[in-house]
């Protein structure tokens, strides 16, 4: 079951393990072995391998036979190196016992430092080091950590006792205590242990060691670790390793220190050693924030390690360079300086911001450290969001009022308003506003355009507000259930406070936070490195990336971000313009087809000019235009006053209009009379749109634009729906092209967004030039889950691990993905090489893009600001495929 060898020694330039044995040694253990072999000074020690963790659990929480012997052998080598003996009462070798899993699980598991001390050896240590204060401080720390980790005595009991002693001694900080005070703590701490465990504190160093090792293995299965693994998808059987290592001390005097650092700046990516340290302190003090640490690099401020320990600083620079050369990536390190000598305690690949990731990857590539492919792979596509949008200044203070869904990235501040009309009016006066709504509807579009940011109380990651905001690149926090909006009083109740209209709030669409007041922000910054990385990514990807855009402005912006066409142009957004909504409403409320045709005549020239604008912006690239999709009632006024006004404008009675309005109400509009169902029952609507597209493409082509229109019929379920609509479109195209004397090749395809379309895609393919998956609706119907209503339970589902991730965020491979694959297979089975893409919200999400790549789609289409993310994700998918 286990390998024979359970314990791997490292120290003095020799290590039994290797850096690539993370599975066996854990991340920390592998790093220590690797550094040791590189000749970097690492305190000697040994790693008990991860497999022992499983043995430990399988045998009912006992350490396996023979482990003790292997540990003793390794310990003897450590003792030899240091010339000290573990358990020696005169001058004891002390050790740390640390967990170390295959991947970092920060703060999840436990550590014991200074192990090996007891009532007698503490005196020996005091004598040997000539530092009684240090010795007793080490002992009291040990009792506290061991008590907590191994014996389960809550830390606060010790802390309380410590505070009492400090109070009595008039000491402000722990380090202000003198040796006597520290010594006085020992019996108190031991009493606490005995009180809570019923047993005295163990004096035998061997017992201390074995129980500490057991405790670290046990901590693998504590609640917070299990929860962390569940969230991060880490299997329980991986287990943790345990590292036992000779202590070196950063707290043995003023020529001692401890610190953490990064081989490059993790915020900016700048190539400079970056970090912080503390003189005369132990590692845990830095974390605990007992004192404020000083910077490592003198550029960062006074009191730097560079100035105070110049030789050590040079040593660290050399070590950093050696580590980067070895690991070929930026490292996150921990070090201790003991009497002027640098010891390395940990190295691992450092986390970084998106900005830093891009700069580091490009510069490391230029330095010859990594290849272009690797540089591309180094950047987490999701992290690009930070580069494309303003972000909150991480240094700024903030009062978070509530948290909603991070629906559209970027941070924004503004005066709150509760109506789209107000947003438009007030922003025209030059005031920045945040639009706050229970939920948004297509009627709010003008207000959403005018606002700096959007905040809603209801709706999920793919609610109207979220989708539109992402499309516009406007920050949005959606589904913030803690908001209570009182429209009558024009007040927002949140976080126990009341905000009147025009109060200033800030939202962070990247985290979902709603914050009081105006929080400073860092603007977006598209550096040259960003362009380089995108260029490289494009070299390696197969999947095309298009954008979802409804206006020439959005189209142009998306093109700047690298979009290779429009995958989804929603014509309904054009219906809401001030100049057209009235004609749209006349059309909907007309008594008969003749009346509808009359109103449609007024809409035709407007639609035509919309399309011309978009064709021009996308000169030379394909433009997929979706025919009208939403149910008609979305275009109608909701409030009586608006209905009254419309009735007057149309010259009909209020009651007639009200009844007609109500008759269009639907119980489940998502599953209602929309998409091609409108095209079937009111063919004149689609006919007008087909004509507008045909006329626009002829006109643009005549003006020298390279037009590549693709007409997309939404919501097809059955080939017999597509058949008559396709025939109508073909007829209109040829009529218009004959009239204009211009020939424009136009594809006619369909969205695949309901399970039935997937299941019968072979039949539908006979009538379609292309497919485009609408994975939002496909997810809604496959799961029977309304994205607008899921807010009441979906977060709990994700929280409880029922769904690994919100299926509207990342495509559900087992269910939705299976239908997608089925449809591709059926469609291409009939039409080999058929063009197939995806235009749902998933098109800009890395894991979904990876799925799309693997499923052999031709393109993904996403909102303009997600285009770089999709480009990079597509490159990752290709490169990872190998």
């Amino acid at each position: 079951m286990a390998t024979n060898k359970r314990v791997y020694f490292f120290g003095d330039g020799q290590a039994e393990g290797k850096g690539d044995q993370k599975e066996l040694l854990g991340g920390k253990g592998a790093g220590l072995a690797e550094m040791t072999q590189l000749g970097i000074p690492v305190p000697a020690g040994f790693t008990i391998v991860t497999e022992v963790c499983n043995e430990y659990y399988e045998s009912g929480n006992t350490l396996p036979d023979g482990l003790r012997r292997e540990m003793s052998e390794a310990m003897a080598r450590v003792e030899a190196i240091f010339g000290l003996r573990f358990g020696d009462e005169a001058n004891p070798l002390l050790v740390s016992v640390r967990s170390g899993a295959r991947v970092s699980m920060p703060g999840m598991m436990d550590t014991v430092l200074n192990l090996g001390l007891n009532d007698r050896s503490v005196e020996g240590l005091a004598e040997a080091t000539g530092n009684r204060c240090f010795a007793f401080d080490s002992y009291r720390r040990f009792i506290q950590m061991y008590g907590d980790v191994v014996l389960g005595v809550e830390s606060e009991h010790f802390q309380k006792s410590l505070e009492e002693v400090k109070h009595a001694a008039g000491a402000a900080q722990d380090c202000d205590l003198d040796a006597a005070a520290l010594e006085s703590l020992i019996p108190r701490f031991k009493a606490i242990v005995e009180e809570h465990t019923g047993k005295p504190f163990p004096q035998d160093p061997q017992v201390q060691l074995l129980t500490a090792v057991s405790a670290v293995f046990s901590s693998w299965n504590n609640q917070r670790a299990k929860r962390y693994r569940k969230i991060h998808g880490i299997p329980g059987h991986w287990g943790t390793a345990v590292n036992v290592q000779a202590m070196v001390f950063g707290n043995r005097g003023e020529d001692c220190a401890t610190g953490v650092g990064f081989t490059r700046n993790p915020s900016t990516g700048e190539h400079a050693f970056f970090g912080e340290y503390m003189v005369n302190a132990q590692g845990e003090d830095v974390v605990a924030g007992i004192r404020t640490p000083e910077p490592v690099n003198k550029i960062e401020g006074p009191g730097s390690l560079e100035e105070r320990f110049p030789e050590c600083y040079q040593q660290l620079l050399e070590i950093a360079a050696r580590l980067e050369k070895n690991y070929r990536d930026m490292q996150d390190i921990e070090f201790t300086i003991q009497h002027g000598k640098v010891w390395m305690l940990q190295t691992r690949t450092g986390k970084r911001t998106g900005r830093a990731a891009v700069r580091i990857a490009v510069e490391q590539c230029e330095e010859g450290l990594i290849e272009e492919r690797e540089a591309v792979l180094r950047i987490d596509p999701n992290s690009l969001d930070q580069l494309l949008h303003p972000t909150l200044d991480p240094k700024a203070a903030k009062t978070v009022l509530a948290k909603g869904l991070p629906a559209s990235p970027g941070a924004a501040s503004g005066k709150i308003v509760f109506h789209a009309d107000d947003a438009e009016r007030i922003s025209k006066e030059g005031t920045k506003v945040l639009l706050v709504r229970v939920e948004t509807s297509p009627e709010d579009i003008h207000g959403m355009y005018a606002a700096e940011g959007i905040l809603t109380a209801r709706g999920g990651m793919t609610s109207h507000a979220a989708v539109v905001a992402r499309g516009m690149g406007t920050p949005c926090v959606a589904g913030c259930g803690a908001l209570r909006i009182d429209l009558d009083a024009k007040q927002l109740h949140v976080g126990g406070k009341v905000f009147d209209e025009l109060s200033v709030l800030t939202i962070d669409g990247g985290s979902g936070e709603v914050i009081e007041g105006d929080v400073p922000r860092i603007p977006a910054d598209l550096s040259g490195e960003f362009g380089r990385v995108m260029e490289w990514a494009d070299r390696y990807r197969r999947l095309k990336v298009r954008t979802n855009a409804d206006t020439p402005e959005d189209a142009a912006r998306a093109r700047e971000f690298g979009a290779e066409g429009i995958g989804l142009c929603r014509t309904e957004h054009m219906f809401f313009g001030e100049d057209r909504i009235e004609a749209v409403r006349r059309m909907i409320l007309a008594a008969d087809e003749a009346g509808r045709r009359e109103a449609l005549k007024d809409l035709l020239p407007m639609q035509r000019s919309d399309f011309i604008g978009i064709f021009k912006a996308m000169d030379g690239l394909p433009v997929t235009i979706r025919l009208l999709d939403p149910p008609l009632h979305e275009f109608l006024p909701q409030e009586d006053s608006q209905i009254e006004a419309l009735a007057q404008a149309m010259g009909v009675e209020f009651k007639t209009l009200k009844i007609k309005n109500e008759s269009l109400h639907e119980l489940n509009p998502m599953l209602g009379h929309r998409g091609c169902r409108l095209g079937i029952t009111y063919p004149e609507i689609y006919e007008m749109q087909a004509r507008a597209i045909a006329e626009a493409s002829c006109e643009a082509a005549a003006a020298g634009v390279d037009v590549q229109p693709e007409i997309m019929v939404p919501l097809i379920n059955h080939v017999k729906e597509l058949e008559p609509l396709r025939a109508m479109i073909v007829r209109v195209l040829s009529e218009v092209q004959a009239e204009k004397g211009v020939k424009v090749d136009t594809l006619i395809g369909t969205m695949i967004e309901f399970p039935r379309a997937c299941l019968t895609a072979d039949k539908i393919a006979a009538q379609a030039d292309f497919f485009s998956f609408g994975t939002n609706d496909l997810t809604q119907t496959t799961f029977g889950l309304s994205r607008d209503d899921a807010g009441t339970f979906l977060p709990e589902y994700v929280d409880k691990g029922i769904y690994p991730i919100d299926p509207f965020v990342s495509i559900d491979v087992d269910g939705v993905g299976r239908l997608v694959k089925m449809a591709i297979e059926l469609g291409r089975g009939v039409k080999p090489g058929m063009k197939i893409g995806i235009c749902g919200e998933h098109g800009g999400e890395p894991a979904s893009v990876s799925f799309c790549h693997a499923a052999a789609l031709d393109y993904v289409s996403c909102s303009p600001f997600r285009v770089p993310v999709a480009r990079l994700s597509a490159a990752h998918a290709q490169l990872k495929q190998g």
Copy 2:
């Protein structure tokens, strides 16, 4: 392409074709050939085979070479038999030219009678028959029919001219005209033809014949025929045959007659010759209703054929017996008596009511005419509905106001009321009421129970009203868009009339008609024959039939109808009882889990007693109980006044309750927070239900009842939803069984009602003892189609043939069916032999039952009144499988 032989002669006991050659000869031609061979007197003639119809179309609407020669040869044999010559001017042989497709398409195609007459031969006919009146009547009929059918001159032109002549002659009826008047019509009719076609009426009988044959072929593709074929799924390539047959005349004097009949009574099934006839008339006169025909059988009334033509009647009885013996089924015949001699013109299997079908099948089986299996197959399962519910008296006059969907069969009359409360109150006073609503909700249940019938303006075949009404066996017309309900005025506007509350209306839930006043009805009548047939059906079926029932009463009734268990017991219906809705609302509106548990405590004993009642009614049979399914807002009051009352009862503020109420509102409740999603977020609800089931089953078992509970978790999508719920149920079951000291085997399974559940059924099966398909929701999600909202376009879809049939009525085999099969395969792949059923509305529809049989389901479950239909359908499926 075609067989060599295109023309099949029949006459004088000899026929070239056979009765089983319907594909080649059409139904009529095959019947004529068969009768001829049986020695039954049939006027001689010949059939031009269906394949010629295709040749005709393929060659651009021309008759194929050689056909004319074959026709001439056959015509010569006809001439020889009659001793007359076609086209002879002295004494012409006249012929009829009739269509005859493989299956009957009543009234869809055309017929020409008396063909062969012209200006000269009409005189010859007058002389030869000594009946000038008859001769000219025949000629004018011929010009009119030929003009209409062959030349496309609308019949009304001739009709108008005929009316003028009748007016001038003072004749009330056609037959009152004398020879001179009839003769005067000829030039007028000929002028009409010339006026409309620009050509004179053709005088050449050969030309008349060939053009008439062509016209009949052409009529195969006229609009109404194509439409009929589309609706009935008849392929266009079948084509029609053409029958050319010597004329015999029922209008040549008082010893002549024409009639139609059935070998058994098609309404009651009584074994007696049944029909009507007309003296001195041609077949078309019976159809045209120019005079009222007399009965054939003297029991039916005076002036019968039995009394007036006793010998002919005897002949007809003998023929009827011979035909039944030959065809082994009841026949629908046409005959003509010419000068006292009976001629048969048609025989085909007769249509019949459900009542008649059952009686005929049983009696024919008893008579030894057919076997038991065939008797079972003879009965259309859908026709059983008529037996189980009262139907409108077909003889009663009725004023149809509007037509809605035939949502629940049976006819009902009553005073209309607009509120469920009124329905309950007024019916308690002994008055029969019809409940009229825009749409019903679970809140209306008590009123629906009280009403004789239910009428709604909105909602489809599986709307709440429809489903509940079918479950209760209450007639219902749903989605009648023509209704306008004015709740303020308590008035119903329909069919241009206004009905106050308590006006009497009648609805026919079998046809969807809404009728003014009280129309007499025929009560349901479960005859002994019905029982026999059901017994036989049970012998042949494999599929079990369960019922959907929520009360002991429904369960008992379903058991009488042969239900073999409950496949779906909806617990939510129990939540609406007067005594519990308040506790339910307290539970929903409670601020926390403790509050919910408090309210649930009050519900527990009521649920328990519900279940005990059902277990007793289903002693020895399985009972599948579904845990709470609908979204919670369905239980809340909708109107402010109700909310106010509840707020007072609960001692909370109106506004608080109103806001909470609104916060539960959902945009797409069908896809919202319901089913197991409630079980996940509010585990205490399902826990109470599990406990109630467990306690009830223990208590019933202790009382000697054979309890077979099956707990069904609704809306599962992901195995991880089922996992914790199953664990909870298992825990509660064992707790309760330990408390009570009784062991009851209880299955725990899930509904499969979303595509994702089908796609991952292998994983879900690991946690489920059984699956039950909820094909309503599965259809809604697979199609993205809300059954409540589909009314605005689904009828048009079916009408246009986009969907062959409403997918909520009959299961969509290509889409939904494919998912069902996939789920069965995946589920049984993991758990061989797993029990799988269906409990959606499709469970009682014959085609769907047939699908379920083929898909190897274990059972279907349907509303009590559909149980016999399902039993018979299941037998059909098995028997047809062979």
